[in-house]
């Protein structure tokens, strides 16, 4: 009996326990992939997945021919990239600042408070945002008024809308990110700080030369995961907050697919766009993974 069979003999019941999980993954993550065929069909619900006529690449052609396609892609990338960047920078900064706090209870209270919006849905938050940002009665414009700034219709202005989306998304999600980075901070060996202090590094220097390098693997991981979202600018948020006057700056791929796929019942077309998005995301994730491996020597698998 060699070692491998001995391990197998001991652990095979554990492998057996995997089966239900694997079954669920197969059933819900892999079987539905057959639906990709809809992207190449003129899908008719009555005829179903296998009865609908195949139309080749026509759905993709329709996407390319869409008159506003450039605008829609630009908006998506613009909002998504800003969200990824701000979604990294803000939580890291907050985590580092929180980590410097001496009093544990202040830290905990703050953490809980900023974490709360993460649990609210955009349907709810959009109602709140419309109120807060209202130019006539919103608290935000009132505060601006104290500084002599005229009320701004944030949700109705193409100059402001994308930034409002980024800012509100960061506000909603940074608490969640902060927790991840705080966890990363605790894993840094305290003796590194002691050594740095010995060498005469102050708080600032310690942050730059010990804390940030120590967090790097997590930062790279989060970035790699987020890069895959470069075509996801946040459907729920934008769908609940946009309106015709800001279509120009707010219409993203997902809202467009919603109007086309759900409202006009072009299911094949919606699937085609979804497939395209998945392919692009896959490429981006792969690319960033390779880069992370090359540059930061970071591997997920």
């Amino acid at each position: 009996m060699n070692g491998l069979t001995r391990i197998w003999k001991r652990e095979w019941p554990l492998h057996l326990m995997l089966i239900p999980g694997l079954f669920l993954v197969l059933l819900f993550s892999y079987v539905p992939m057959a639906g990709i065929i809809m992207a190449f069909q003129k899908y008719v619900p009555n005829k179903g997945l296998f009865g609908s006529p195949l139309i080749g690449m026509k759905n993709f052609q329709l996407l390319i021919d869409y008159p506003d396609i450039g605008r829609v892609f630009f908006n998506t990338m613009f909002i998504a990239v800003m969200k990824i960047a701000a979604g990294l920078f803000v939580p890291i900064t907050i985590a580092i600042l929180l980590n410097e706090l001496r009093r544990e209870w202040i830290k905990r209270t703050f953490q809980t408070l900023v974490y709360l919006p993460h649990f609210m849905s955009w349907v709810l938050l959009s109602g709140i945002l419309v109120d807060i940002l209202s130019p006539s009665s919103g608290i935000f414009n009132q505060v601006l008024g104290w500084f002599g700034i005229k009320p701004i219709f944030f949700l109705g202005s193409n100059d402001w809308f994308p930034y409002v989306m980024v800012a509100s998304d960061v506000w909603k999600e940074f608490g969640f990110g902060t927790i991840v980075y705080l966890a990363a901070l605790t894993s840094i060996n305290p003796s590194l700080y002691e050594a740095a202090a010995m060498d005469g590094a102050g708080r600032i220097k310690q942050t730059f030369y010990v804390t940030i390098p120590g967090m790097m693997p997590i930062i790279v991981l989060m970035l790699t995961l987020n890069i895959g979202n470069v075509l996801n600018a946040g459907f729920e948020q934008i769908f609940n907050l946009y309106s015709p006057p800001v279509y120009e700056s707010a219409d993203i791929i997902d809202t467009f697919v919603y109007r086309m796929g759900v409202q006009q019942a072009q299911f094949g077309f919606a699937t085609a766009v979804g497939l395209l998005k998945s392919i692009v995301s896959f490429l981006f994730v792969s690319l960033s993974y390779v880069l992370a491996y090359r540059l930061a020597n970071y591997r997920i698998f």
Partner: protein, 558 residues
């Protein structure tokens, strides 16, 4: 040994999980089978001798509704309603299957996909077209002609025959429209207590609308810091916006939201790009500049926009018949009526009366399978339904009440397998009169009786029913209908085919561009002349193509 026991435990766990999953399936199949198999066997045994005793058999499928409560000893297989049909018109009804109402539509799809149609069933407009193309359903032209009674024929063409036309392909009648009343108008609702307070006349023209909203804003009878003239919400052009929309405003300018109207040369044109819309937008922009429309309307949904109506900020709104049910939230506080609202027909910009835009009034059809042996049986069911739904003799109440002939809330009418609704109602003639004179004897339909009862509660002091009085009462919304109806003062979409190919591909971008430009003009972000640019763009982006296709359809279906 230890290992063995562990293994046993684990396998038991896994197996039990798997069994639990299977168990559910087994139960479900069991649940559906008893209803399916007996009826199937019944149909095979029954169809052997249809001529005997003159009773013919037709099969259908039915949704089981939780509101339907069977009398003791009755079921889908045997009940008073089916018996009555068999006795009175010689048609025995069987069900190929019965599905819960929430799954009924899905199951119909499967039935169609598996080519397993019952003799007749209810389908939607798209399915009707597909079934026609797939040659799965019967051409009903002759059967209907022969077997439908004069009354039935009249009943289904009260709207001028439009609904029947939507079921006709290449001159062949392929389905029986599950008809309902398309004549649902919008109206202008105004705070009449404010009109009185400020000594203003009732709105007759669109100029009056602007003048009244200016007065409301300037004099501010509600005493609120935030006041506007007209309540508007974020989807003002959508059909789903029943209150706080602007469709009726467009109608006041003889403009219409995305319907096909006659172009004067025997063809059709789309209403979205007509010069009348530009006039309406000029007026809206003007109101926006004067602060008569909430500058934030583009981000407020109906409920949010209506808040200003509830707390005396706005005193005017366009809306459907049921608008009072929305207004009641502000109009009645602590059991007291604190706001008085009046309802008026949509004012017009000029001497010609405004025409509210309306739809066709049918989206589902009864179709008969090509394999059906007795299509005439289905028509007989139809004839009988129209008789018993509109003027039942005391004995015929069995069709709606069951064998005891008393109303006990069991909703036996749901058992009638083929139901069509009146394309025209006379609520507007009957209800206001009945409520004014407190005369319940002239009421004809169940709907009228319910509404009368509600309005009477208000008359007798129950303020929570305030809204019914404003809908059905002497000066209510319905009381305005007879005039609109008698003068045919409405605008109905002239295109009722299924979407044309270009429509399917381009409708989204056309509506998007339209909303963008309409909103920007209203919000004074761009000049009104942008409308002309939009018209050009609309044509290029597929509008011309769609117009061509619609006109080809029109030429073929006139």
């Amino acid at each position: 040994m230890k290992l063995g026991r562990k293994f046993l435990l684990i396998t038991t766990l896994i197996v039990s999980v798997a069994l639990a999953a299977c168990g559910n399936n087994a139960k479900e199949t069991q649940k559906s089978s008893p209803s399916a198999s007996p009826s199937a066997s019944a149909s095979s045994s029954g169809s052997s001798g249809p001529e005997s005793g003159g009773v013919i058999e037709v099969s259908t499928v039915s949704p089981s509704d939780p509101y339907l409560k069977f009398d003791e000893g009755e079921s889908w297989e045997k009940n008073a309603v089916y018996d009555a049909y068999e006795k009175d018109v010689g048609v025995k009804i069987t069900n190929k299957w019965i599905a819960d109402i929430t799954q009924f539509k899905e199951k119909v799809k499967i039935t169609i996909a598996s080519d397993d149609l019952p003799d007749f069933l209810l389908v939607n407009a798209t399915q009707l077209k597909e079934l026609t193309e797939a040659d799965m359903i019967m051409d009903l032209t002759d059967v209907y002609e022969q077997h439908a009674t004069e009354e039935t024929k009249k009943f289904l063409t009260m709207d001028g025959g439009l609904q029947m036309k939507t079921a006709t392909f290449d001159g062949k009648l392929m389905g029986i429209p599950s008809s309902y009343n398309p004549y649902q108008y919008q109206y202008l609702y105004v705070r009449t207590d404010w009109l009185k307070e400020l000594n203003l006349p009732e709105p007759k023209t669109m100029a009056d609308v602007v003048a009244i909203s200016e007065e409301f804003k300037a004099k501010n009878p509600g005493g609120k810091s935030t006041t506007y003239g007209l309540a508007v919400s974020k989807n003002p052009f959508s059909i789903e916006t029943g209150v706080t929309g602007l469709r009726a405003f467009l109608n006041g300018y003889h403009a219409y939201e995305n319907i096909w109207i006659e172009d004067g040369n025997g063809g059709l044109m789309n209403s979205d790009v007509q010069p009348e819309v530009k006039q309406a937008l000029v007026a809206l922009q003007d109101m926006f500049k004067k602060g008569l429309i909430d500058p934030e309307f583009a981000v407020k949904d109906t409920e949010k926009a209506a808040e200003l109506l509830y707390d005396d900020g706005i005193g005017m709104v366009f809306g459907a018949t049921w608008t009072p049910a929305q207004l009641v939230k502000g109009a009645v506080k602590d059991g007291k009526v604190v706001q008085e609202w009046g309802v008026f027909p949509i004012p017009s910009v000029d001497g010609n009366p405004a025409r509210p835009q309306i739809g066709i009034g049918v989206d589902e059809y009864y179709v008969i399978s090509k394999k059906a042996k007795h299509p005439e049986g289905v028509i007989k069911l139809l004839n009988q339904w129209i008789v018993i739904d509109n003027h039942p003799t005391p004995e015929q109440k069995v069709y709606t009440l069951g064998k005891d002939l008393v109303e006990k809330g069991s909703n036996y009418w749901l058992l009638n397998p083929l139901r069509v609704g009146k394309q025209l109602d006379n609520n507007g003639e009957i209800l206001p009169k009945a409520i004014e004179t407190k005369d319940a004897s002239i009421l004809q339909t169940q709907d009228q009786k319910n509404r009368y009862e509600g309005a009477m509660k208000f008359v007798n002091g129950d303020t929570s029913m305030w809204w019914e009085y404003l809908i059905s009462g002497p000066k209510g919304a319905l009381s305005l209908n007879p005039e609109i109806q008698n003068n045919k003062q409405y605008m109905q979409n002239k295109f009722y085919g299924t979407p044309t190919p270009t429509m399917a591909d381009r409708q989204e971008i056309l509506v998007k561009k339209r909303d963008e430009v309409y909103f920007k003009i209203i919000m004074n972000q761009v000049s009104v002349d942008e409308f002309d640019k939009f018209v050009e763009e609309w044509k290029k982006l597929g509008g011309d193509e769609i117009t061509k296709e619609v006109n080809e359809w029109y030429a073929a279906n006139k």
